[in-house]
Amino acid sequence: MTEIRLDGLKKRFGSDMAADGTDLTVESGEYLCILGPTGAGKTTLMRMICGLTEPDEGRVFFGDQDVTYLDTAERGATMLSQTYALFPNMRVKENVLFGSWIKGWPEEESQQLARNILSMMHMESRSKAYPDELSGGQQQRIALARALASGSRVLLLDEPLRALDARLRLELRKDLKGMVKAMGLTAIHVTHDQDEALEMADRIAVLRAGRIIQVGTPKEVFEDPKTPFVANFVGRSNMIQCRVVQSAEGKVVLENEGGLRMEAKDGGQPPGTEVLMAVKVGNTKISTKLPGYFEGRVEKILYEGATITAEVMVKGLGLVYSKLPNRKFDDFREGNTVSVNWSPEKARVFDIPEGGIEYEIRVD
């Protein structure tokens, strides 16, 4: 089983730094998700790992071996692309067997492996079909089968579910991870969809503008973001610009321009510092009865199914969002005055980012 290590990878395309000093370690058998907006450099990273693109600087290690300039065919890292790229002139079975055919494996073994994988996916009946006769979800499964049957220890998944309908994606997320784990492979799965990353990853690496900003388990990245970008990208947050008033017992008291006071977890900044506070919309609570940090008017209640989102206009602050379970839908009406509250340990405080707040919290 292989471990992968990326060491200071840099890659430039014209004026664009697709990779700007990327460091990453992937453990054997791990399912790692690289999460980031389009243009962050996710695909470039994958291509450098499997050898389709050469880095300008830096190294790629598979185990102890430096594979930075090793030919793609020798690396043993198989890619599953967004468009599946099933060979159009070959049938399903031939597609699945391509890897073993190329490597000249014994016929019997390859056939058996292909049969097993196809039956795992309930696709044996379609083994003679051509790719253009299959539906999107079926194509995705065959592309996966082809990768699994290739004998590679490492699987690189480049937004594998992107081309599918939303509802189908939900179904296939479970199947995809299950199969990869069943075969004991190491997987690097790239996506822009935080729900997908949260559900599937053992660990998440957040990527932006060619740099990895934070790596951690889904819980760590969600609850303990290291930058405002992560705080807003992995689970939407209310971002409030304010100043530290005082700190005590691990909590800070903050005040914004409009004079509203609130509390958060102490981030180590001394009183008087300008800071950016972030609290997840799911942790922002509203109530018609209990007191809170400040009050606002409910502008809109959006019904989202299992959850609802309330837009609350707070004087001296702006719009604050609160995400609640759907059973609360009947508790609030547009026009209600509500108090806004959260538990201080759930709110994080960050230094004002260098590039400015607006750029920091952009999601594209």
């Binding site: 499997c50 050898g51 389709l52 793609t72 065919a73 890292a77 692309s81 060979f87 391509f98 490597k103």
Partner: protein
């Protein structure tokens, strides 16, 4: 390990990849590009004798006349092609009607005729052939007009196909978006589609222009049949005429001069066309809604389609087939043994050229298609067009001069010449095919363990093979029909077009219409062979019909 395995293994080594690329590029430069433009250098070294020709106003008048005719004819023909080609391309891409497949085949028909045969057809359909009793319209007296009518026939398919190709690739959503915003179809096309179309128009322009400039055999035959071969020249017929006469060595300065003029102006035109592609703006900010709305619908559309079809029938199809009316007359058959020997030579030349094109053209095409953003890729992309633009007769002469000190057999030189103008056809075709293929296929294959050559063989080649085959067949037919280059290099190499030209020369010298008949039959035979090849192309590249799920 078998040879293939060795090749597969070698292909992953960087040095091997680099070596192969350099080899292909060098072969291209030394065997194709350099010989094509060598005449320019020769002109400099023989400047003395050329200067003498320049000061001879009589000779210069003829030379300028020929060059002027070639370029003006090419220009007029291309403009007409654009005007009638756009509506036809539109019809073929955007509309469905009964018999569409039939019309589709008709449009390509002229490509199946060697231009020699077309020369016959046009002369007897439109013109007044001397000493021949064949039914025709006989309304065109001017050789200038006759040549234009001839050139229209074989350039028309190039224009329509190029325009159709671009139109097909354009996302119709852009136009639809325009219409949802309130623009009539005509306005939307003029302001949205046409600007996006621009590159295709220029490509079509260049292809047609170059094809017309190059044409020798058909023009030569047509002029001879109406008896104007000494009064009217195009660049290629001038060169052919001189080369045919005894003592052509003495006329070398003139040949060099006219070749240089043809090449220089052709390259200039290419340059100007590329410039136009980026600079000239089609007016789109002005809109005339009411008027454009009216011509988008109903009667106007029907008239437009009607006229396009009428043009296709009267000016393209009927004239093309007219040569077959020779079969209605009684006449002596040509020396069949000689004809078959000529066939053999034509096949040998075409076959050798095509083989070379495939072996060395595919790697070139692959490199260009995958490296269009790099300096070398862009340069090669431009260079590949050069042998396409240069009139084949001038190209042939240049090549002849290049190799003159290396006493190579005439056959080899002719093959080299044919390689030069067929190579770009194969390369362009393959580039087009590769560009449509998702590079992911090969890349994924590599991640599954395939070495570069393996990925090419097992994944890319099967997908583009029909395009490769089509390109090869087009190159083969083009070579079969070529007259000018063969004459310019070595008129003693008896390909079928040369065979035909010899018969026509006999007709002219001995004034015996029997020879015309024989030449016509030879042309028809050659046509039959080309027909078979074109049918093969159609079969191989037939499009898959319908069947996309509707949402």
């Amino acid at each position: 390990m078998s040879l293939i395995d060795r090749l597969d293994g070698a292909s992953s080594k960087r040095r091997v990849k680099r070596f192969w690329l350099i080899l292909v590029i060098l072969i291209f430069l030394i065997l194709i590009i350099l010989p094509s433009i060598y005449v320019l250098f020769e002109a400099v070294s023989q400047w003395g004798s050329i200067n003498e020709v320049v000061s001879d106003s009589g000779k210069m008048a003829v030379i300028w006349g020929a060059v002027g005719n070639s370029f003006s004819i090419a220009f007029i023909v291309t403009i007409i092609d654009i005007i009638v080609g756009i509506p036809m391309a539109w019809l073929m891409v955007r509309k469905n009607f009964p018999g569409k497949r039939f019309v589709d085949t008709l449009i390509d028909m002229p490509l199946a005729f060697p231009t020699a045969a077309l020369g016959f057809s046009v002369a007897i359909f439109w013109g007044i052939p001397q000493g021949l009793d064949v039914p025709g319209l006989g309304i065109v007296v001017s050789p200038y007009v006759l040549v234009i009518l001839l050139h229209l026939i074989f350039t028309y398919p190039y224009m329509v196909r190029t325009l159709s190709g671009i139109l097909e690739q354009l996302d119709p959503n852009f136009e639809t978006a325009g219409m949802t915003l309130g623009a009539s179809r005509f306005t939307a096309v003029r302001t949205i589609t046409l600007p996006l179309f621009r590159a295709g128009l220029v490509t079509g322009f260049i292809l047609c222009f170059a094809r017309s400039l190059s044409e020798t055999g058909g023009t030569y035959i047509a002029l001879n049949l109406i008896g104007k071969q000494s009064a009217f020249f195009t660049g290629p017929t001038f060169i052919s005429d001189l080369k045919n006469q005894a003592g052509s060595e003495a006329a070398m300065p003139e040949l060099i001069l006219i070749s240089v003029l043809l090449i220089v102006f052709a390259l200039l035109m290419l340059f100007v066309a590329k410039l136009m592609m980026d600079k000239v703006k089609i007016p789109w900010s002005k809109v005339w809604p009411k008027f454009e709305r009216r011509i988008s619908r109903g009667l106007a559309v029907k008239m437009r389609n009607g006229l396009s079809s009428f043009f296709l029938a009267l000016f393209i199809i009927i004239p093309s087939f007219f040569i077959f009316s020779f079969l209605l007359i009684e006449g002596p058959l040509p020396d069949m043994a000689g004809l078959f020997k000529a066939m053999g030579i034509s096949f040998l030349v075409a076959g050798a050229a095509t083989m070379f094109d495939i072996i060395f053209g595919i790697p070139m095409a692959l490199y260009i298609a995958r490296n269009k953003d790099k300096g070398l890729g862009k340069a090669l992309d431009m260079l590949v067009n050069v042998p396409l633009i240069i009139p084949t007769t001038a190209l042939g002469l240049s090549l002849y001069l290049f190799w003159s000190s290396a006493s190579l057999p005439g056959l080899v030189l002719v093959i080299l010449g044919h390689i030069s103008f067929t190579y770009p056809l194969v390369v362009r075709n393959v580039i087009g095919a590769v560009e449509e293929v998702d590079p992911s296929y090969e890349e994924i294959a590599k991640t599954l363990g395939a070495k570069p050559f393996q990925a090419f063989r097992k994944v890319l080649l099967p997908v583009i093979q029909s395009s490769v085959l089509a390109g090869a067949i087009l190159a083969f037919t083009r070579s079969l029909g070529e007259t000018g280059a063969t004459i310019a290099i070595d008129p003693t190499i008896n390909t079928v077009p040369i065979y035909i030209v010899n018969l026509i020369n006999k007709f002219r010298d001995l004034n015996n219409p029997d020879y015309v008949y024989q030449a016509a039959v030879a042309s028809i035979t050659l046509t039959a062979v080309c027909f078979v090849m074109m049918v093969a192309v159609k079969y191989v590249t037939r499009r898959k019909l319908g069947g996309r799920g509707h949402d």
